[in-house]
Symmetry: C2
């Protein structure tokens, strides 16, 4: 049986093997009686030639002659129960760049939308209550779309298997989820589960009223790939404006527990392997506060003090990520490095050629 | 004869007509004896219904019944000689985000390139003198590629016809030109003319030596769409390190004059129309300083004081643009608004989940 590694694994003992994502590992079922509990013995097909220490094997490399491959005794931590949760913040939102009055900047005298700067999206989706609603539920900027797509492509490069996608009902989160799935080439295979319980702390984002989010029908009409069979744990009607910090913390803690228990944890094969039946990553696209409020209860950490919380949340960039892996013991989770790197880029400022170039 | 408008034209007299890019205009050659010099008389097929004041016609709309169309006497400034030059700065370069030591951040212990942050390009092209050369000639970041592509798509939206593309020999400029052409869907139809005379003021960018730019053969091998028949006005060997401001100003002034005289100015058809034979836009992709040093001599303006110059250049963002249009009088150029809007976006900061989320 030949398996393909899903994640990198760094050896922690001399009888363990360095595994890169994409490595092909031969596992002989007859040999497994020698393996200690939770481990398997296998052989890596990866060449060990000094010249190509980082070579990654794919389907074709499988046909390399065995003389170029090295054979290594291999122990793999058997996490047949291992799951992972990737929590990410949405991409750049238009009001982050153009301020609260962004929509006014984009309306013609007769109320039509136009693109006042090339970072505004080329069009807005239809909303039953009119464009005005987008002031409380702003879309991604073009830069936000670029960021989301890039992260999706990077996850694909790392051969991360995403099996479930949950999103806050905020338009920017649904859009981010959609563009990440496009980058992953999983659109429309994996559908987005819109979970109102993932919305931002309402004290920050809904001080007077919960925004009129786009309905499932509207999202579908705008070509968003929504899972219509999904039943939310927290219906929209359960969200209240200006909730207390304690209420937000307990809502977040409840929703992450409900999400993880709704995604199957039993699987028949060893860890690291992208095979049907192996639980893939549960992707959750939500808000900057979600990176702490969803992962800390999962990892068994206490919630942050409400004052520290605001300060911490300000440091989280677009597409900032936290990654939790389930441990050998079921429902024990640990925060580890996300499967892809950070995304760091500069700002691009407004430019007035008349003042700058023509002026004397 | 039905013509399609290439640019918007705002009427300046009551016998002139508002024209949007894409409008179809019927011009009867028999009527032109009534037109004053430099103008033509024509009829707009655009509907004037109050409900759709901004409707833009395309090929299909051509078939609208005449009852929905309005007929207007039309005067068009006849700029049969009119050309336009669009000077743009390259996109975000990797060292702008990651500093001068960017390449060291991306090398494994055995000297292989890897992507230390997702804004680094996924690979570097081959260079005969090795990767080290890219330290003096850095590539675009992924964000820079996004910016370039977006501007190309916006030019296409505005139906701007680009007929000639010139680029500085700096890799970031050639890459920007290529991605703008891809956005314009003109790749590989329009080929890039690499002109060393367009390189940055060497006092800033080449204080000790002129960088080892990629050769034409290397650029072609890396799939850049280079015009191999182009003979540079300023060969690479003519560039000297640490040139004086006066030398830079006179080089820039000479190169823009040579470029405009090398691109045909005579054309048989009226202005605004994207027809074969009508001169399209001459696109020049170069450096922030080029926005002033190329356009000011073209528009007959004196060069800036060298101290003001440095201050002005710092204000120019990625893909900052200046646009010069030739006037009725040949070789008289005026700076006007570029055909597309500015691009303004925010920065994305580095993020350390361990310190931010896990720390207490």
């Amino acid at each position: 049986q030949t398996l393909r590694a899903l994640f990198q694994y760094k050896p922690q003992n001399i009888d363990e093997l360095m595994i890169n994502a994409g490595d092909l590992i031969y596992v002989n079922p007859a040999q497994q009686s020698d393996a200690s509990e939770g481990w398997v013995i296998g052989t890596s097909h990866r060449t060990k030639s000094e010249k190509e220490p980082n070579v990654k094997l794919n389907g074709e490399a499988h046909n390399l002659s065995m003389s170029r491959s090295a054979t290594n005794a291999l122990s793999l931590q058997n996490a047949a129960l291992r799951r992972a949760v990737l929590v990410m913040r949405h991409g750049e939102r238009v009001d982050q760049v153009f301020g609260r009055s962004w929509l006014q900047q984009c309306l013609t005298a007769d109320g039509k939308y136009y693109r006042a700067d090339l970072n505004f999206p080329s069009s807005l989706p239809r909303q039953k209550d009119g464009m005005k609603q987008f002031e409380c539920d702003p879309p991604l900027s073009c830069c936000g779309i670029f960021q989301s797509r890039l992260i999706g492509e990077a996850l694909l490069d790392q051969e991360v298997t995403v099996s479930y996608v949950y999103s806050s009902p905020a338009l920017r989160c649904v859009q981010t989820a959609q563009h990440v799935l496009q980058g992953l080439k999983l659109n429309p295979k994996v559908r987005i589960r819109v979970e109102p319980g993932l919305f931002e702390w309402t004290k920050w984002e809904a001080s007077r009223a919960i925004p009129n989010f786009m309905t499932t029908a509207e999202l579908l009409e705008a070509s968003y790939n929504i899972d219509t069979s999904y039943r939310a744990h927290f219906p929209l009607s359960s969200l209240v404006p200006t909730e207390s910090y304690e209420d937000y913390v307990s809502r977040s803690s409840a929703v992450i527990k409900q999400i993880t228990s709704a995604c199957p944890s039993k699987a028949p094969l060893p860890p690291f392997f992208a095979f049907p039946g192996v639980p893939g990553v549960i992707l959750i696209v939500a808000h900057s506060s979600s990176l702490a409020s969803l992962t800390r209860p999962l990892a068994g950490l206490p919630s942050r003090d409400s004052r520290d919380f605001a300060q911490m949340v300000r440091k989280i960039p677009s597409l900032g990520m936290c990654f939790c892996e389930e441990q050998k013991e079921e429902n024990k989770w640990q925060m580890v490095n996300p499967p892809v790197k950070t995304l760091t880029h500069g700002a691009n400022t407004a430019f007035d050629w008349r003042n700058t170039i023509l002026g004397d």
